[in-house]
């Protein structure tokens, strides 16, 4: 819906941008180099080189099927979970290749958290158990579980809404609340990077606004990669934007520059709504 708004509003003008914070020259937290990914024999990523700035929000935009999800799933080695899927190239996390020999994908995923398109709280667990799931399932008992539950839920602005019913099922919440619960579940593990694959696409506008606010806030402390279909959302929440098209990275730039003076005509066509 907001996609259509974005298109009708700006037939040919670039979308006006007010970036959350001017992108300062930051360090590089993660970097993909020559990243290629396949599903069986069909290639979804054709060699991506993309650095991800530390403690900054990078938005990934592009038309459906261009490889956005595949790309973020390569960043925490979730791509290879799909039967028949594999990836080549390197992805560094603090300089070390997460695809290097002997690297345990399980350990990578603890450092690089993920939030999915559809909220997916564990149906057999209460709200509290969902927040603690990452720790408990990894055999760790937090010293102060109650405090961890509270801080995690406060970070996603869900605490006040659920503090009286922490023992209710996680699936008893509304869609937007479930998504915030899933973000809290990821944050409880204190990841260094948070990947969000279209986290708002199943949510209503109010819930979307809340998640965006949240990204704003935690974006100061985490390196965030957010896939979005909504260019206004990209403009609102991100410092950097990367435009993907047919498995290739077309353009990567600070968000304000990307939306005001895209350097590639394909980018311009996409952000002005001429296709996609």
């Amino acid at each position: 819906m907001s996609m259509m708004m974005a298109q009708s509003k700006s037939e040919s003008q670039p979308i006006p941008v007010t970036p959350p914070r001017a992108a300062v020259a930051p360090g590089i937290k993660m970097e993909a180099k020559g990243l290629k990914a396949w599903f069986g024999k069909s290639q979804a990523l054709k060699g991506i080189d993309l650095p991800l700035a530390e403690n900054q929000v990078t938005a990934i935009i592009g038309p459906s099927g261009c490889g956005k999800s595949t790309f973020v799933r390569c960043l925490n080695r979730m791509h290879e979970v799909v039967p028949g899927a594999h990836a080549t190239g390197t992805v560094t996390l603090d300089g070390a290749d997460i695809y290097g020999a002997g690297t345990d994908p399980v350990l990578v995923r603890r450092r690089v958290g993920m939030v999915f398109q559809k909220p997916n709280p564990f149906p057999t667990m209460s709200i509290r158990e969902n927040v603690l799931a990452g720790l408990r399932l990894n055999g760790r008992r937090p010293a102060d579980a109650a405090a961890l539950v509270e801080t995690s839920l406060r970070q996603v602005a869900l605490w006040d809404e659920v503090k009286d019913r922490l023992d209710r099922a996680g699936t008893s919440l509304s869609g937007g609340q479930q998504q915030r619960l899933c973000i809290a579940r990821a944050l409880a593990l204190e990841p260094e990077v948070l990947l969000m694959d279209e986290p708002c696409s199943a949510l209503d506008p109010i819930a979307t606004a809340r998640i965006e606010e949240l990204i704003h806030e935690i974006g100061q402390r985490y390196t965030i990669v957010i896939v979005t279909h909504n260019m206004q959302q990209a403009a609102r929440v991100s410092h950097y934007t990367a435009f993907f098209y047919m498995g290739e990275l077309i353009e990567h730039a600070p968000t304000d520059r990307m939306f005001t003076q895209p350097s590639n005509p394909k980018t311009e066509d996409y952000i002005t709504g001429r296709f996609g």
């Binding site: 925490n76 979730m78 979970v81 039967p83 399980v106 350990l107 990578v108 995923r109 603890r110 450092r111 958290g113 993920m114 999915f116 559809k118 997916n120 709280p121 564990f122 149906p123 057999t124 799931a133 990452g134 399932l137 990894n138 899933c182 579940r185 990821a186 593990l189």
Partner: protein, 296 residues
């Protein structure tokens, strides 16, 4: 269609506002279909209810504390009970479950989560389906040649044949129930840095547990009533026995021998034994359901 000379009337494709012949026909077909559904359902439960009533009516008269706590009296004498058969059935079903449930559930987990598309998994799946279609008497004969011929009749041989009979049901229901768990949950767990085995055991199996338990219960209920394979394996025992290496009695076999005898008293006892068996299965079922609800 939209030729310029078309008159400006409502297009003929607009739906009529009043009930027409088509609508009345639709309502009639609807009634007919509903009626057929209700009739079929009633037909399906008639035999169930009839069997329950028959067993209860014929058996209740012989049911007493003495009947439950005594071993059989010789034919022709009054009295005697089914203590040996009750204990035998509990032991046979218990040991069979101890063997069959873990092997079946783990195989089901393998098929759904690990092997899914592998050649080996296909072969296992195929074998399980074939095994599910093998008459239980054939399995009894198999266990007879494989075990009884070497070691004699025993509770263990009976338990093994019951375990084999329950395996296909347990394997396939476990697999089907696990397949119903959305991939999103597997991915959610893996993305939290949870090792695969832990994601499977703590999230996937846990989520499918009520379904798996229902399948397991059906399998247990089924073997509790199996008779034919026990004739060749557990053989029967009029005395109370809890030894795995000795022949052992069981309710289905007691029902079989009593009801095929020529004695009227034994006929009544057969009905009472059947009533006990039905109640036992019912209790097992309800117990499992309560247990699952507590944990779920």
């Amino acid at each position: 269609m939209s030729a310029p000379e078309a008159p400006p009337v409502a297009p003929s494709s607009a739906l009529p506002r009043q009930a027409t012949g088509v609508d009345r026909r639709r309502a009639f077909v609807d009634k007919l279909a509903r009626g057929a559904c209700v009739a079929a359902t009633v037909l399906a439960i008639v035999p169930l209810v009839a069997v329950l009533i028959y067993v209860a009516a014929k058996g209740i008269g012989s049911l007493s504390l003495d009947f439950l706590t005594n071993t059989p009296a010789p034919m022709g004498e009054v009295g005697g009970g089914i203590k040996n058969a009750i204990i035998g059935t509990l032991l046979l079903v218990g040991i069979a479950s101890l063997i069959g449930i873990p092997i079946g559930v783990i195989t089901g987990i393998y098929l759904a989560e690990l092997g899914r598309y592998s050649k080996f998994a296909q072969a296992v799946r195929f074998s399980a389906d074939i095994l599910g279609g093998v008459p239980s008497i054939v399995i009894g004969v198999f266990v007879y040649t494989a075990i009884v011929l070497h070691w004699g009749y025993s509770a263990m041989a009976g338990s093994v044949s019951l375990a084999i009979i329950m395996l296909p049901t347990v394997i396939r229901t476990t697999e089907e129930m696990l397949k119903l768990v959305p991939d999103a949950l597997r991915e959610a767990a893996l993305a939290l840095g949870v090792p695969r085995w832990k994601a499977i055991s703590s999230i996937v199996v846990r989520t499918a547990l009520p379904g798996i338990a229902t399948g397991v219960m059906l399998a247990v209920a089924r073997i509790a009533g199996e008779t034919a394979p026990l004739l060749f394996t557990a053989f029967g025992n009029d005395a109370v026995s809890t030894s795995l290496t000795k022949p052992i009695g069981s309710l289905p076999q007691m029902i079989f021998t009593h009801s095929t005898s020529a004695d009227a008293e034994w006929h009544r006892q057969a009905a009472a034994g059947a009533l006990v068996l039905v109640i036992l299965i019912l209790v097992l079922n309800i117990g499992a359901r309560v247990f699952i609800r507590r944990r779920g």
